[in-house]
């Protein structure tokens, strides 16, 4: 029996192919048919000031992450350092973006799975109350980005070295009120997702996150793995490598030769000690700081991150001073610039070079592109333990990664039974295209 199904409730276009024989999955592959837009080619040769505007349009939900990923890589090349308050405003914006993304995923994309409904459009009156709650939490994230960035999706004020316009004190005060008013809903979100029975999909692979000492770093840092080992951001290529895998025709990214996970679950496992007080309590209570981890717990991790970001945002709003800040030039201008930041879905790497005020080359490694190998690995192992409803269960598993296929037009193929003359003739070599 062959099943071909377009995935829903994920960002981007992807299709799942399953071949089932005698109640066992014989073949399974995920085809990302999201049309690549070739951003690496589009951004090449554009003026440096235009690059962030382009980069954020890679993705409609993680545009804030791409915006700052690009900006920080450029600032790295040009030796620019931003002021403390600019830094805080950027952090607020990034948190706003993640709040929006997580709330949307949890309530619109994941929740139907756990209420056994096809989509939120099938929710009854009580269940729609939950959607209303999700919308309100999501709106807090949007407001943060809008107040500081000028617009919720594809914000306009964040540029290289500074903001084109600063928010008003009154606006930040209102944001703080909005955060405080909706905080209880976030707690309810954690409790709700912690109460769901997840299928078992345990794993013991390395995990990677962004590192900066003593904080739950989102913007610009080095890399840290689940063993606590730290790597300088400019050396990322020594540890994160693309490789052609023998059973798959697509290139995957590996950490020291192994499959690895990025995202909220990795962040909490590695950096739980830096979570804000109450978020930390939940992380410990839900055992997200201990192995073995279940990939489905990523949703609990998202909910806990919501609380952390709410509390951290309130803290930052109290601390930030709204004043003009000029960036400083520290160090020499280099041709190359690299940044490693946390997008909602995990580690995002921007690696670019500048010549004569234009982008000479740019490579972007998105979190979903990094998780694709992990997804493949987990689907293989997961399918061994289930005996029916393969299609639905695999979809749920893929959804647990909150994949963003716009960011990662990529091919993925898994074969369970080795075939001497491969009937899968789809060729999908090369680096991930966006």
């Amino acid at each position: 029996m062959k099943i071909e199904k377009e995935l829903s409730k994920v960002e981007g276009h992807a299709k799942l192919f399953l071949e089932i024989e005698k109640n066992r999955v014989k073949k399974c592959f995920l085809e990302v048919f999201e049309s690549p837009r070739y951003f690496e080619a589009l951004i090449k040769n554009r003026k440096v000031e235009e690059a962030p505007y382009f980069a954020q349009r890679i993705c409609g939900v993680c545009n804030v992450a791409h915006l700052f990923g690009c900006i920080y890589a450029i600032e790295d090349a040009l030796g620019i350092e931003i002021g403390e308050n600019t830094k805080m405003l950027r952090e607020l914006m990034v948190m706003g973006g993640i709040i929006h993304s997580h709330a949307l995923h949890l309530y619109f994309l994941a929740l139907p799975d756990f209420l056994n409904k096809e989509s939120i459009l099938e929710f009854d009156k009580n269940e729609l109350e939950l959607v209303k709650k999700g919308l309100e939490i999501k709106e807090v994230g949007n407001r943060i980005v809008e107040v500081i960035g000028g617009r919720a999706i594809h914000p306009v004020t964040a540029t290289i070295g500074k903001f084109t316009k600063l928010p008003k004190n009154e606006e930040l005060k209102n944001l703080k009120n909005l955060l405080e008013e909706n905080r209880e809903k976030v707690i309810e979100t954690i409790e709700m997702f912690s109460s769901f029975n997840f299928p078992e999909a345990f794993f013991d692979t390395p995990m990677v996150a962004v590192f900066e000492k003593n904080c739950y770093q989102l913007l610009k840092g080095d890399l840290i793995d689940s063993e606590g080992k730290i790597f300088l951001y400019k050396d990322y290529k020594n540890f994160l490598k693309e490789k052609v895998v023998e059973y798959s025709t697509s290139k995957h990214v590996f950490y020291k030769g192994k499959v690895y996970l990025v995202g909220p679950l990795s962040r909490i496992f590695i950096k739980w000690k830096s979570l804000t007080k109450e978020a930390k309590k939940y992380a410990i209570r839900q055992r997200l700081n201990k192995k073995p981890l279940n990939i489905f717990s990523a949703n609990v991790a998202r909910a806990i991150e919501l609380l952390h970001f709410f509390d951290k945002s309130i803290e930052l709003i109290e601390r930030v001073e709204l004043k003009e800040e000029k960036p400083r030039i520290i160090g020499n201008q280099k041709e190359k610039g690299i940044s490693i930041t946390e997008a909602p879905r995990g580690v995002l790497i921007y690696d670019l070079s500048i010549k004569n005020g234009k982008i000479k080359e740019i490579n972007i490694i998105t979190p979903t592109a990094q998780n694709v190998a992990h997804m493949e690995f987990m689907i293989k192992n997961f399918l061994k333990n289930i005996s029916d409803n393969f299609q639905t269960e695999v979809e749920k598993l893929i959804r647990a990664y909150d994949p963003c296929f716009s960011c990662s037009a990529h091919f993925l193929e898994i074969e369970f039974i080795k075939e001497t003359n491969s009937s899968i003739s789809k060729s999908s070599k090369g680096i991930s295209r966006k």
Partner: protein, 237 residues
Amino acid sequence: MKIGILTLTSCWGCSFEFLNLKGYLLKLFKEVKIVKFNLIKESEDYSEIDVLFVEGAVSTKKEKELLIEARKKAKFLIALGSCAVNGNIIYLRNFIDERELNEIYKQKIKIDESLAPIDKIVKVDYFLPGCPFLKKELVEVLREIKKGELPREKDYPVCIECKRRGRNCFLMKGVLCLGPLIKGGCNAICVSNNFPCWGCRGFHKDANIKAFIKSVSKRVGISEKEIEEKLKLYCLR
């Protein structure tokens, strides 16, 4: 009334912006039937639809076919966002040749269809430009359609809204801003945030492009080439 969103080549930002409709969204869930919206529901075939929003540009043969099929089933087909309306910045892909793509991606890239805004393929009943589109314009179009009508197209430049918001003109300060050529309706959102207009909403119907390029280059000191490069992002097609 049945509505839906068909997503072609895009960043899905307009799908996300649709979910930012807040209270209006919940109202919509109750009042209309959403038969297509890949982001939040299973992809099912639908036989007919009253209002289909199309997000994204057409960049593959498959998308071309999908769009043509969708046009047959839709009473009103509305281009949602700049990718669908004018191709957006991804339209620039048409100026990169395959050899260069092969070099950058280190694999053989084959482009089977040039990237086009959707009105190059099907008849479009209304356009909601913007990157992303303006929520209030979407609300307005749904309201008018319920009456069996479509809203009047905005026929004034961004400058009107910019001045109304009390901004000082970028062009007067020697910074390139496309406002005078671009269709208003966005409430000058970028310029009010001190970011000059890059034209995501496309030309308004009386835009005098030649005069703009000539006078801006002469009086503001920005080269004609630079102005044209900016116009190529969303407008010059």
